[in-house]
Amino acid sequence: MTAPARGDEPWYGAGRDLAPAVPIVEINRASRVYRMGEVEVPALVEADLRVEEGEFVAVVGPSGSGKSTLMNLIGCLDRPTSGEVRLGGTSVADLDDDGLARVRSRFVGFIFQAYNLLPRTTALENVAAPLLYQGIGRGERLARARATLERLGLGDRVGHQPSELSGGQQQRVAVARALVTDPPLILADEPTGNLDSHSGAEVMALLRELHRSGRTIVLITHDADVATTATRQVHIRDGRLVA
């Protein structure tokens, strides 16, 4: 019943060595149309976007403009209806569903507005969970999860369940979970949306620090203030990206 080991050499590796020649995210005329019975809802229309390694890009736009739709495409939670999404040089269209799962496992770390921690599961187990799907043994999983939580100042909260943590603490656990696999790309969808200004500022400071340490971050927000943290802003309106 042992799943085949997910190979040690990342499929995107070749592309990364050549950076910045190959952008970490490259979207070419990608559209996503939701079909609701007879009606077609174009959530994203012919979007073009390049994110180079080490960039901190904010995607800014009002509610319903298609920000989450864009993030789902970048994060391989979804496929474009038309157009192309390339991650580290590889086209997502060439990957089957397990291939997409593999990208989510190795390439992307998600941070959601709603934290999305596993309920009734300790902070430690939550942060260790992504490593489970990389086939890493329990001992190493827990050690890495603990180290990541400690780095984010949550060393004294490892045994707490989400219901025993404040919103800001939960979001920091979520950040730890996104970081524990050491992914090339961090995707944050409204990470401060549910937080008060103080906790929100803390999380943003954390993202800034991650960027300084060389990570590529795509931040999604409707808040122009929050967006100023990023090094580059991309605006989206009615499913269209505007420079």
């Binding site: 019943m1 042992t2 799943a3 789902n72 994060g75 939670l77 979804d78 569903d97 397990d98 799962a101 593999r102 989510r104 496992s105 190795r106 998600f110 959601f112 999305n116 921690l117 596993l118 309920p119 009734r120 599961t121 969970a129 992504p130 489970l132 799907y133 990389q134 086939g135 329990r138 979970r177 696999t181």
Partner: protein, 403 residues
Amino acid sequence: MRLVELIRLALARLAVSRLRAALTMLGIIIGVASVIALVAVGQGATSGITSQLEALGTNLLTINPGATTTGLVRGAAGSATTLTTDDAAAIGQLEGVAALAPEARTQQVVVAGSQNTTTQIVGTTADYAHVRNFDLWQGSFLTSAAVQAGLRVAVLGATTADDLGLGASAVGSTISIDGLPFTVVGILQPKGGVGFVSQDDQILVPIATVEKYFTGSDSVRTIDVSVASADQMTDVTNAITAELRTRHELAAADADDFSITNQAQLLSTVGNVTAILTALLAGIASISLVVGGIGIMNIMLVSVRERTREIGIRKAIGARSSDILLQFLVEAMTLSIIGGLVGTALGILVSAGIDAVAGWPLVINPTTLVLAVGFSGAVGIIFGVWPARQAAVLDPIAALRYE
């Protein structure tokens, strides 16, 4: 994902909702326990009855009258009165017959002092105790002289003596059978029942006495024949058949008006009947396993719905559909296998209890255990796979949005 990881996930999940897990397992527990208990009790009964039948006497042939087949209709054994005490005497002369005990039966009211009971009066001969493996507890058995003379002497079965309030000192006392005085000469040791018939609730008297005082007929109900050695069983059976056909003046085309039962045949018949009954009961009990499986499926479907968001999260952090499928499948199997193990333990306890009460040996067949646990695992797979598939095919975005 490795199996240990999947089992760990499943156990952690079950620990979160212990009561629900326990209730879900209950169906499997009851199903497995009843299958195991029924099979074990069936096998215990078989071996118990077999050893009791063996206690009846070795190398035993039983001759009954009138079990003839006329056309397609088989008359009830003993319905005819074709065997007589003279037939018995003739059989006694045959080669290979070591001992012989004809039986004539009548039901009579028996009174001893202020106690009374209604019981079987069995008229027989001095060889009866030997042929049927009865041991005396007190006094002596019917003597050949008493049998010849048709004296009013009686040997009491253990239960009958009890019912009449008679103990060891009763030997030599007088009881009344149908108003006639009989002298108690002995009391038998208890032997236990064969099936539902107690061999301990009867009174043995000389066969001529039964004819003379009660039935007025020389017909006998049964003739038990003890054959000198096991390898003579067939020869003696043939000799008895020939002798009785001659004595009854049957033409070559006529069917036998008697039947001869071989103890060995009886044993295998009993074995077959109990095996069929056991299989039937176990089959009925296994229906509850299926019901238990449906319970598991129901709970797993509810669980998939409740945990839609968890499934979305797991997919977002890298779980493949197959990881989700296995997680839910192993969860269902963990429920059913733990249920199977608990059910097995319960089944063994119950069958030990029943066997102890019935006085049968506890027979637990290892293959039954392996089958029961294997079957409950299979129930987990069969009824877990659909919910697990529902979980696996969830769209991650829709699952993450699910409230």
